[in-house]
Each structure stands twice: as C-alpha cells, then as structure tokens.
C-alpha cells in the first residue's frame, strides 16, 4: 500500500515536471521574450535593457529554467512584471479567495447534490424525480454567464438584497468575504450540483437494479436500512472522482463566474495576467493549477482505494 502511494506521488511529480517544461518551453518559443511582450512599443533602449537585466534574460534558456525551477521548488516564483512585486504576494490573497469560494460551494453543493441525486433515484419517474430532474437539467444547460447575470439582475438590482459585484480589500477577513460571495456561490453551485446530482442519480439507479439489492430485499431487510447499508456505499464510490474534478475546477476553472462578479480569485488572475502579458505570473499559475489537479486527483484515487474492499485487497495481494 505504501509503495503504491509513493508510486502515485512519484508519477504526480513527473507530471508536474513535464507541465513546468511545457510552460517554460511554450514561453520560450513565443516570438519575443517576457520583456518585449510586456513593454510592447517601449521595448527598446534603456527600458528594455533594464528589464532584461532584471529578469535575467541574458543567460541561456536552460540555465534560466534550472534557476526558475529550483526557486519554484523552494516556493519562490520570482517577480511579477506588472505589479513589480513578488509573485507570492500577488498569489497569496488570490489563493485564499479561491479557497474560500471553493470550500463554501463544496460545503453547500456536494451534500445537496448527493441528497438530490438519491431522492431522484429512489423516486424514479415519480413527481419528486420529475421536478428535480427538470430543474437540474435546466440549470445544467444555461451557460454560467447568463445565470450569473440573471442572478445579479434579480437579486442585486431588482430586489437589492445583496451586492452585485464583489468589492473586497485583499486583506479582507473570512466573514467579510462570506457576505460578498453568496451570489457567486449560488451561480457556481447551480451548475456543479446539477452535474453531480445527475451522476449520483444514475449510479444509485444502477446499484438499485443489482442482484445484491434484490437479495437484500428478499432477505427481509427494511427499505431504508437497505438503502443506507447496501446501496449508498456502493453507489457513492464512483462519485469520489467526480467530486475531485469538481474541486479542482472550483479552484482554477470558474473563470467566467469570477469575471462576472468581479471576484478576485485564481481564475480571474489567469485572465488578467494573460491580458497583461505578465508571463512570469502565467508560468506560476500553470504550475500551481497543475499541482492542484494532480494533488486532488491523487487524494481521490487513494480514497477510492481505501474505501473499495475489492481494490484494497487486490493491491495488497500484489
């Protein structure tokens, strides 16, 4: 088991190494370099020289990669161009904001999705299922920029209950954040919950049709006991991987929602730094987002292994 974990961690590190290489090479082969891209028309004479010197672009590429990589391993991403401040300081509050948004959405969305999925499966083709299924399919199909804009229109502008866009200082406390993020959380949860509820529904339906559930019924196991002991543990196992992907998506992929609500998260930073041509920040974000994906999927795989007796003993036997 330990060997397997080490193996998976090793594979994750190799993935990260490849990602770092690709981003670095990608930046290298772009026409011009970080300085010419950033300075645009002012890229000449003293300003350019100073920039090149500051970023150390005058040394060969592989040396710069080694230098950059070793700094990244130590947790230092270098300096951003636009703010001319350490990237760590740029990233810090963004990571925190994204974590807050993601964890609130997860805490609300995932339990809700599971409950809705189970209800729709157990009352399949009956009224609760038809109602919930219609709503989930509806919220799945509407693109998030429309649902987010509608939310702002209705809740913030017409009703005036909540602020429409998020304006928070970068050192805002958790509680200050919380009141501001209700609308983004709702917008995100709508899509996330719908997707997951559909998945849980089909998984529960599949397990309900299995031989062992029929056997449990014929054994005289009362309905709810059967649902909790025989159905759910087996039906929710495949959901773990979907949850993992969702979490990773919440941390870096909710770009549209963050832009609509002006929320200073990681997703918006990606867009900003690309449009500012701030290549060092783009590089740093690529590595961070890749690590999030690799890390969360690793945890999900290990959890599935722990919870599934079949896989567990298979691995041990090997």
């Amino acid at each position: 088991m330990l060997l397997l974990i080490l193996k998976r961690i090793g594979l994750g590190l190799i993935t990260l190494f490849i990602v770092s290489l690709i981003t670095f090479v990608g930046v290298e082969v772009l026409p011009g370099d970080a300085c010419t891209t950033y300075l645009e028309r002012e890229a000449y004479g003293a300003a350019l020289d100073a920039c090149i010197k500051r970023l150390g672009l005058d040394v060969p590429a592989y040396e710069r990669y080694l230098d950059w990589a070793s700094n990244v391993v130590r947790g230092d991403f270098g300096y951003s161009l636009s703010g001319e401040m350490p990237i760590n300081e740029v990233l810090g509050p963004r990571v925190k904001n994204s974590l807050v948004l993601a964890s609130v959405s997860i805490l609300i969305g995932i339990p809700l999705a599971i409950v809705l999925g189970i209800i729709t499966a157990l009352w399949r083709d009956k009224l609760p299922d038809i109602m919930i299924s219609t709503i989930t399919i509806f919220s799945m199909t509407i693109p998030e920029f429309i649902s987010a804009t509608l939310l702002i229109l209705i809740v913030a502008i017409w009703l005036g209950w909540l602020p429409g866009i998020v304006i928070i200082p970068s050192d805002a406390t958790f509680y200050e954040l919380l009141s501001n993020i209700i609308l983004p959380v709702v917008a995100i949860s709508m899509i996330m919950t719908a997707h997951m509820a559909r998945m849980v529904r089909s998984s529960v339906i599949q397990v309900m049709a299995s031989d062992y559930v029929q056997m449990a019924i014929l054994k005289g196991v009362p309905y709810w006991k059967m649902v909790f002991r025989h159905v759910l543990p087996n039906a929710l196992l495949p959901a773990i991987n979907v949850v993992a992907l969702t979490i990773a998506w919440l941390l870096g992929g909710v770009v549209v929602t963050e832009v609509v609500f002006n929320y200073p998260g990681l997703g918006r930073l990606v867009i900003e730094s690309i449009s500012n041509r701030d290549l060092p920040v783009v590089q740093a974000l690529a590595i961070i987002l890749a690590s999030i994906y690799v890390g969360i999927n690793l945890i999900a795989d290990l959890m599935t292994l722990m919870l599934n007796p079949r896989l567990k003993s298979l691995q041990i036997r090997k």
């Binding site: 049709a209 299995s210 031989d211 062992y212 559930v213 029929q214 056997m215 449990a216 019924i217 014929l218 054994k219 005289g220 196991v221 009362p222 309905y223 002991r229 025989h230 543990p233 087996n234 196992l237 919870l307 599934n308 007796p309 079949r310 003993s313």
Partner: protein, 675 residues
C-alpha cells in the same frame, strides 16, 4: 407430511406492452408445496420459472404486475401484503438462495456482517450468541476455517464458497421454505456436485421445504421429490420426479429429455425443431403446437387444460399424452455419427506449446521474450487430424480457451510451435500470418450476443468474410450468403434481420454461418453451446456435425460439459491447470482406466436420472496457480501416492484402449483401482 405450506392459485403475471396490450408471461399457474418436500421447477429461458419462484416470495420484478390469482403462504396472500408484512416473512419464513452468489452478496460488506444482518432481523439472539451462530452456520455449509471466514469480503471467496455463504445466509432465519433460483448454474462441475450434495443434506437435516428452479434437468433430478415442467409461462407437466424423468408423458418434456447429451450414450442427442414462443404471441391453441410431433388440428385451435391422471399421479397439459405412455425405451437412444477417417493427414500440430499471462518485465520487453518459470499453459503436444473433432475439456482455469486463442493467433505463445499443414509454422503474432492462414482458421464464440455486431444485419455480418477473403460482390455475394443461410437451416428472409430480432439458437447459427463463410479448414469452437437452452443446444450440435460430414472441416471444440463433449467429439484432451492429463479417442477416455482428474470430472456429471448419483471423490478447492513442479493435479488428487507427485512431472502411459494418461500410478494398477 401432507401439510401444504405454500399454494399458488391461478396465478398470472404480465406487463403492458408499448402498444398498451396486456401480455402475460405467467399464465394460470397453480401448484402446492408441501412441508418437507423439494419441488423442482424446470424450464428453458423465458418459460417464466424465475418469475413464478420470485412471486412465491411476494416479489414481482419492476415492470411486471400480477394480473390475477394469489400466492398463499400459510393461507395468507403474499401478493396483497404490505412491504412491512413481507419483511417479516422474507428471510424468516421463506428464504432465497440466488443464482449468482458472486453478484448477490453486497460487495462492500463482510460475509459475517451479511449473515449477522439476517440473524438480527429474524432472531432474538444477542451479540455473542449471534457470533457463535455465524460460525456454526459457516461450519454447517462446510466452509473452510469458519472463524476467519466471517471477516472476509465476498470477492475474496471462490464461486463455490460464495454460493455456500448464500446458503448459510438463507439458513440464518430458520425458514420453512427455501427458494433456490439456479443455485449451481455458473459453477464448475465438481463444485456444482458438491453444492447440490450440501443442499440435499440440508433438506434432510432441517426438514425444510425447497423449491429448486433450474434449466438443468440433471441438477433437478438429484434433489427433487416432485417436478414441475414449465413451457411458455404455463405448467405443462407436474408429478413425482421419477415418473417425470423416466416416463415423461408430455411431448415437450419427452423432447427435452431426449435432447440432453448423456454420458452413457455415444452419438448426438435428438433435437427439437423451433424455439419457445415469445410472450404474447400465442393467441389460440396449444403453446407447444409449432414444435410438437404429436400435434393435430385440435391442438391448433384449442388449448389443452392441465389434466390430472390419477393412476400416474401426474398433471399433464396435452390432448395426446396417451401416445407417450410406455414410450420410455426410446429415451435412451441417440443419433449415431459418422466417425472420421483415422488415416487422414495431420492438419494442425501443437508442439511443446506454453502460454503465459505474466506481465513482461522491462528488459524482457526489449528482448521480446517472456520469462515465466510457471506459465499458465505448459507442454501442450496435440496432433490434430484432418476432419476430426477434438475436444479440450476442463474446469474454469484449465487453460482450454487460452490454447484456443493461441491457435487463433489472438494470444502469443511463450514457447513451442503451432504447425499448420505439412509442418508450416504459424507465427504466434497475428499480424505476421498470411491472409490464407487467417482464412483457414475461424473461431466461433460462446456468446453470440456479444460476437455479432448489433448494428449489422445478418447480410452484413455474413458478407464481411466473403468480401475479405474472396472479393465477392453483387449477385455472387448475395448468392453465397443465401447458400450459407441454407446450410445453417435459416431462410433467405433472415438476411435483413438484426441480431436482436433473432432467438439465441438463430444467433448462434448465424455465427456458425459466418465461420463457414471463410471456407475454413479448422474451426475453433469456444463453449459454443453453453449459452444456449438444451433443446437448442442439441440442434446446434447436430448442425455442426452435419456441416463437418458434408465439408470435411476440422473442429477444435472447447467445453466444460463432458456430456456434450461425449456427443460431438472423436478425440478428447483433458486439461487441468494448463497441463494435459489425458488424451485419447473419446469412447476410451470415458472408460476406465482414467487419469484421476478425469475420474473426478466424470463422477461429478449430473445425469437427468434420479438413480445415477454423482460420485464425489475430490474436494472442490480452487487452485489459483499451477504447482511449480510435479503433477499439476497434486493438490486435489484423490489417488495421490506420495512425494513423487509433488516433485516429478508424471510420465505418459498408453492404456490398452489407446488413450494416453499422465500419472505416476501404473496404468494397470489404475485400472484395478477404478473398477
């Protein structure tokens, strides 16, 4: 003894078709189960036997509903009970032993928990008493080390052990009635015989009534006191087991018994024409009319009632049953088949073939070799003559299908050579074989549902080999397809059909036609009849034999069923753990002296005759890997003589019958031991 515990009265169960029509899959069924009695319900797939059995627990599958009638358990109608009331009966009064215990045990719960659950629900025992009871039950179903067994997960057990756990679970609530739904289907022959023996013991020991549902008359014959024969949702024959099996007076049962291959008979079983009608397709007349050779005009218009015949103690649904009384001598006959010319040339030769499933290590991959000291299949030497049918027999894990895949080129051999026609070596890599060799060797698979593309019509399926190997097109292609269909006794109109529109037997005929389309020299048959009903199986066997006699094809026939092999093959090779145990002409392999493993297999075959009991001579342990040295059968051999069996590979000995046996025991001594 005469107290009735459950009684089914005029039960009909059906569903609503898409056109809104009510279609019944169980029609007007009535029967009684007495205390302490074992009733066998037998029928082919789609006969409604499982629906009937489940209804007897008050369980109706989703999509179905009762149309009329009742299921009275101790004079209470199960079909009208609330789920609360049913929970009190299920597992406590009536318990179920499912078909496939591997799938019927919840995968995330330990064995002990699942038995404990039944005990908690249906007894008043406290924790310590229950723990004691669990190991008692596990002991009773003869599971090894019952103390630790409770802490294992279902997937950690073998198929036979899972089935035993299911039996233990059913016994936990001390039920009055046990329902067994095909409890031994899917198990190996020896395991099946052992599980049946256990069930018989339990019936005797606890006095529980049993309902045993199966398609297998062999298994039914071993356990039942009374037999109910179902056909197209109706009971067609019901009576004492011995009467039903020895003097069947319904033409369906008669035909069914004749279509079962028997160990004692060489030659092919007689087949019944046609197949069972689909639910809803019978409007008037007898449901067996189309397939019956006693049928007359009366049978076409009027459907017979279930008639009680007092002197035979039997219920029968047939107008002409009297014609079958005293016809039982004809049951013990079979169709003799032409044997092949023993002077014929060798067409395929397996020389020292070994096959390994071991994962290649990195360096071995570079060198393109497999280093595995203990491969799955080892030292296979078989010469196959032109026009003969050679059978590879063994239980699951014996390597029989593996060898077949290697001949087909689907699996690389580790060592040895496969030679085709006059010592030409066939490459073990499919891509390196030339098109003519690919054409010459064709494969028919076990399950036609999976081997025929569901999106192709029969015409498309059959045209592929014709286009690929012979470049046919247009009218010529069509003519060839019609010829092929004719060969497998299917009409021209089948060309536009899709596989889902065909019955199981028809699908397998199409698969046979596809193999013959390539005009092959050798056809590899992988368990080709085991997914089929008995009556259809007989028809496919006869078809294969007929085609072989007409076209001179060679068959390599893989099967786990010794009786089927007896019927079709000229020569038999018995395999255990990927090693050959015995090989010889089939009539001799079925006679003594035999390899101890062949003896075990033959002993475990279930004949549809209550007077022939299986002989259980070896434990049904499952071995995961072949032993590293010595005889492959050392772990289970009932005739093991000592250390020599563990250390040395036994020599080949040729018996006076001409069959070769690989055993350390002298062949004459073996003969006297087995007398």
């Amino acid at each position: 003894m005469n107290e009735i515990i459950e009684s089914v009265k005029n039960l009909s169960i059906g569903f609503n078709s898409q056109k809104g029509k009510q279609i019944s899959i169980l029609r007007n069924v009535s029967t009684n189960i007495k205390k302490g009695e074992t009733v066998g319900i037998v029928g082919e797939s789609g006969s409604g036997k499982s629906t009937l059995a489940l209804a007897m627990m008050g369980y109706i599958k989703q999509g179905l509903f009762p149309l009329k009638g009742e299921c009275l358990f101790k004079s209470e109608d199960l079909l009208k009970m609330s789920s609360r009331q049913l929970e009190k009966i299920r597992g406590r009064k009536i318990a179920m032993i499912p078909q496939n215990a591997g799938q019927a045990l919840t995968p995330n719960l330990k064995i002990g928990y699942q038995i404990d659950e039944a005990l908690k629900l249906h007894t008043d025992l406290n924790k310590t008493e229950r723990d004691k009871k669990i190991s008692e039950l596990l002991h009773k179903v003869r599971l090894p080390s019952p103390e630790t067994m409770a802490f294992r997960y279902p997937h950690e057990l073998s198929g036979g052990q899972q089935q035993r756990v299911a039996v233990a679970m059913a016994l936990a609530g001390k039920p009055d009635l046990l329902l067994l739904d095909e409890p031994t289907t899917g198990l190996d022959v020896t395991t099946q015989a052992h599980v049946l023996e256990l069930l018989r013991f339990i019936a005797k020991d606890t006095g529980t009534s049993m309902i045993y549902v199966s398609h297998d008359l062999g298994a039914i014959a071993q356990v039942s006191d009374r037999i109910v024969v179902m056909y197209a949702g109706e009971i067609v024959l019901e009576g004492p087991a011995r009467k039903i099996l020895k003097e069947p007076i319904h033409p369906y049962t008669y035909g069914l018994l004749k279509s079962i291959p028997k160990l004692s008979l060489a030659g092919l079983p007689a087949s019944m024409p046609g197949s069972q009608p689909q639910p809803g397709s019978i409007n008037e007349g007898c449901s067996f009319y189309d397939r019956c050779n006693l049928a007359n005009d009366n049978c076409k218009k009027n459907s017979p009632d279930l008639e009680h015949i007092k002197e035979l103690d039997t219920n029968v649904r047939c107008f002409n049953y009297k014609e079958l009384i005293n016809q039982n001598n004809n049951l013990q006959t079979s169709i003799t088949k032409k044997s092949n010319n023993s002077e014929a040339n060798e067409v395929l030769k397996l020389k020292d073939v070994s096959i390994s499933y071991a994962k290649q290590k990195f360096f071995d991959q570079l060198l393109n070799k497999i280093s595995d000291q203990n491969p799955t299949v080892k030292d296979i030497n078989i010469d196959i003559k032109k026009g003969e049918t050679i059978a590879l027999v063994g239980e699951s894990g014996s390597g029989k299908s593996t060898i077949l895949k290697s001949i087909a080129g689907l699996l690389k051999t580790k060592d040895g050579q496969i030679k085709f026609e006059k010592d030409r070596i066939l490459s073990s890599d499919l891509k390196k074989r030339n098109p003519n060799d690919l054409r010459a060797i064709q494969l028919i698979f076990q399950n036609p549902d999976e081997s025929l593309n569901p999106n192709h019509t029969v015409e498309q399926i059959l045209s592929q080999p014709l286009k690929l190997y012979f470049n046919l097109s247009g009218d010529e292609l069509k003519k060839n397809i019609i010829d092929l269909l004719k060969k497998v006794r299917l009409g021209e109109f089948y060309m536009s059909r899709y596989p889902r529109q065909l019955s199981g037997g028809e699908k397998q005929r199409v698969a046979v036609a596809r193999a013959f389309a390539a005009k092959p020299d050798i056809i590899l048959c992988d368990e080709v009849t085991s997914a089929l009903d008995v009556s259809v199986q007989a028809a496919v066997l006869n078809l294969l034999q007929q085609l072989k006699e007409d076209l001179g094809t060679t068959y390599v026939f893989v099967s786990h069923d010794l009786a089927v092999v007896r019927a079709i093959s000229d020569r038999v090779a018995v395999l255990y753990q990927g090693r050959l145990c015995e090989i010889g002409p089939s009539q001799n392999v079925y006679k003594f002296p035999s390899h101890p493993y062949t003896e075990v297999l033959l002993g475990a075959v279930l004949e549809p005759d209550p007077d022939i009991k299986p002989k259980l001579v070896a434990e049904d342990i499952v071995e995961e890997k072949p032993p590293e040295k010595g005889c492959s059968f050392q772990g289970r051999c009932p005739r093991k003589i000592g250390d020599i069996c563990n250390s040395e590979v036994p020599p080949w000995q040729i018996g006076e019958n001409g069959n070769a046996i690989r055993c350390h025991i002298n062949i004459d001594e073996l003969a006297s031991l087995q007398q």
